[in-house]
């Protein structure tokens, strides 16, 4: 009688490779999909996210562009080298893409993905470090997605490409090289995550942490530290900024009675500010034992010197401090 051990085959995949796999699969699946952007073809992508795609799909489907633009009856993936550069094309994103389905009463859909690194990086200074989540999520007609790990990256990018609406897909440069486990399901060609649904990365009873993108990792790190002190944090990975999974946040707050939002962007009119407003307007307000706390980037243009830059964005100690203040411990 032999004994059989079920080996759970788990592959580690970096976020950039998950994004690459998502685009590769979708290019193969639908010939209307194509990628354009600065240096995406022969350079293999400024951050190597599109590595190998030009060799595989050629000039027609992977297009190096001088600068921002275009859409048609096709399904373009438009890469911004960083979202800071998207401001050059923001009129097209908002006025030509976001509003067109509505203005045309549904006649002219705009199935386009705008993707690229968003938010702070390392040492790239003020003009290259802004988080645009709040700016884009402000506008009806867009969908705004902010993945954290490789599974998010792949599943949400495939969803964005298959979505018939303009999707702003905000990656993070510092996450590109970070490996994460990918389940067998996540490795399949049909792995698509729903846009508009958050994920509870870590359940807990004492406080709800809501975050997106890189800060999700910081929240999990903070939660690990606090667990040793007997504080159990529930960490919610928003995944989508617009539409936002308000139900998930409310359900969690109604359980934990405490809410801390964590984001890399500036505080004023930001993602955390919107969450606060939503919570106040909904059923979860009456379950709060303390006001909502926002942990955000410092309200300044990003400085260059490392010590200044490090102190311009939420660190794990800031998150821990804020949680303890919220819990009054």
């Amino acid at each position: 009688q032999g004994s059989f051990i079920d080996a759970l085959v788990v592959l580690q995949m970096m976020v950039r490779d998950a994004l690459n796999q998502a685009m590769d699969e979708e290019l193969e699946r639908d010939e209307r999909v194509f990628l354009l952007g600065e240096e995406v073809a022969q350079y293999d992508g400024a951050y190597k996210v599109s590595r190998g795609l030009w060799k595989k799909y050629g000039d027609q489907r992977i297009i190096d562009t001088p600068i921002s633009e275009v859409r048609a009856g096709l399904r373009p993936i438009c890469e911004f080298m960083t979202f800071n550069f998207s401001m050059q094309a923001i009129d097209q994103v908002i006025n030509s893409a976001a509003k067109t389905c509505y203005m045309s009463a549904g006649f002219q859909a705009v199935p386009i993905v705008f993707r690229g690194p968003n938010g702070s990086s390392a040492g790239v200074a003020a003009q290259h470090s802004q988080c645009f989540a709040a700016w884009y999520a402000h506008c009806p007609g867009l969908k705004v997605v902010s993945p954290w790990n490789s599974e998010d990256a792949k599943g949400l990018l495939k969803a964005a490409i298959r979505d018939d609406n303009p999707v702003v897909f905000m990656e993070n440069e510092l996450m590109y090289g970070v490996p994460f486990e990918m389940s067998e399901e996540a490795l399949s060609k049909d792995f698509v995550l729903p846009i508009g649904k958050a994920k509870i990365e870590r359940p807990g009873n004492h406080v709800t942490l809501v975050s997106h993108s890189r800060c999700v990792g910081h929240c999990l790190d903070a939660a690990a530290v606090l667990a040793k002190e007997g504080i159990e944090c529930e960490v919610i990975n928003l995944r989508s900024i617009r539409p936002m999974d308000t139900d998930a946040i409310e359900a969690s707050v109604m359980k934990t009675n405490h809410l801390v939002t964590v984001e890399g962007g500036w505080p004023q009119f930001g993602v955390g500010a919107e969450i606060c407003a939503k919570i106040m307007e909904g059923p979860a307000f009456n379950y709060l034992d303390a006001p909502v706390t926002r942990v955000t980037g410092v309200d300044i243009p990003m400085p260059y010197a490392k010590i200044l830059e490090d102190n311009s964005v939420p660190q794990i100690k800031d998150i821990i401090f804020s949680i303890k203040k919220t819990l009054n411990v």
């Binding site: 633009e69 275009v70 048609a72 096709l74 006025n95 549904g106 705009v110 199935p111 508009g196």
Partner: protein
């Protein structure tokens, strides 16, 4: 470089002549009706009228195929018509009724039709989009072209030059058309542009200068340009010299930056509809009575359309959150206050 191209002669059949006449006259009457409705406050907001420029829209449509593509800026009612939308649906969109071509959601500047991408409110933004449509034609290898129009004001915009660069680099089948009506809002071309040779502003893109008041010139130039693109030679630029009788929009009387005499002169010597009419009459291609009968039919069509546009109901409030997205599950939409929870309905 292109060979020098002068239009010396072309062929106009009687049927074509009558069709261009009908087209231009319909546009003229439709725009004048819009003027009337605007002054009665039945049309509100922005309204940029095209009377005077009819030969451009009619001539371009005559020079391209139905399956080609057109995109323009906000002075778009005429192109909406030439691309197949009825006067009824155009006027009802202007009056903001549910029977409008965009169900009242778009208004004057946002009307769409198959192979017609509006109707765009941001000056110059439609030109990069036009190149994108041309890119799609090239990508799909369907032999179609895109006509991307803009005005003398937009001609100085940076995004046009970015577009010229890419269109030329990739040999996109795009006809860039500058409708030079001599004024960008209240700024004459001499006060706006270091070079008013708009047909040359494409630099490395070959350009044609065309009498935009003559529908046959426009048609022939358009055919030439379309052939150029279709044969894979890349983009081409066409400047149509034309004129608008109205001011920039209905809020502009149009006489503070130009003289009434100038407007009158164009009307009496260069009106596109009169030019065609005289040509047809003097060549015995139609009788005055026949043309008068057509005028009568058009008047009735436009009056009926106006009647519809004033009596059709406004869109229901349920339409507020319709068509934010396409093919998408419903999302909750916040109303004016926290208790106003609306649901979106997507198009499909």
């Amino acid at each position: 470089t292109l060979d020098i191209f002068f239009l010396n002669s072309c062929i106009l059949t009687r049927d074509q002549g009558l069709s261009y006449y009908r087209c231009m006259q319909t546009i003229r009457r439709m725009e004048l009706k819009a003027d009337q409705l605007y002054k009665q406050k039945i049309i509100r907001g922005f309204c940029h009228l095209y009377d005077g420029q009819e030969a451009c829209a009619a001539g371009i449509e005559a020079g391209i195929e139905r399956t080609d593509h057109v995109i323009t800026a906000y002075r778009a009612h005429a192109f909406t018509y030439t691309r197949g939308v009825s006067v009824r649906e155009i006027l009802a969109e202007l009056t903001g009724r549910q029977g409008g071509v965009a169900k009242g959601k778009g208004g004057s500047m946002h009307m769409y039709a198959p192979h017609f991408y509006g109707g765009n409110g941001i000056v110059g933004a439609q030109v990069p989009l036009g190149a994108g449509i041309a890119l799609a034609c090239q990508y799909q290898g369907n032999g179609q072209i895109c006509v991307a129009l803009y005005g003398d004001g937009a001609a100085n915009q940076g995004q046009l030059f970015e577009t010229y660069n890419m269109a030329a680099l990739w040999k996109l089948p795009c006809v860039f058309v500058c409708e030079n009506n001599r004024y960008g809002m209240g700024t004459s071309v001499e006060r706006a542009a270091a070079s008013t040779d708009y047909y040359k502003r494409g630099d490395f893109i070959p350009g044609l200068r065309v009498d935009g008041m003559d529908v046959l010139c426009v048609r022939e130039a358009t055919k030439f340009a379309a052939d150029h693109c279709r044969s894979g030679k890349g983009p081409i630029l066409m400047e149509l010299q034309t004129y608008r009788y109205h001011g920039h929009s209905m809020s502009d009387p149009g006489v503070s930056y130009r003289t009434r005499e100038e407007v009158q002169e164009v009307r009496s010597k260069n009106d596109p509809i009169s030019l065609l009419k005289e040509r047809m009459l003097s060549n015995n291609m139609a009788s005055a009575e026949e043309l008068k009968e057509i005028d009568g039919e058009i008047r009735k069509e436009v009056d009926d359309a106006a009647q519809f546009a004033t009596s059709d109901p406004e869109p229901p409030l349920d339409d507020l959150c319709k068509y934010i997205y396409h093919n998408s599950p419903p999302v909750q939409v916040r109303g004016t206050n926290p208790w106003a929870k609306l649901q979106s309905v997507s198009s499909s």
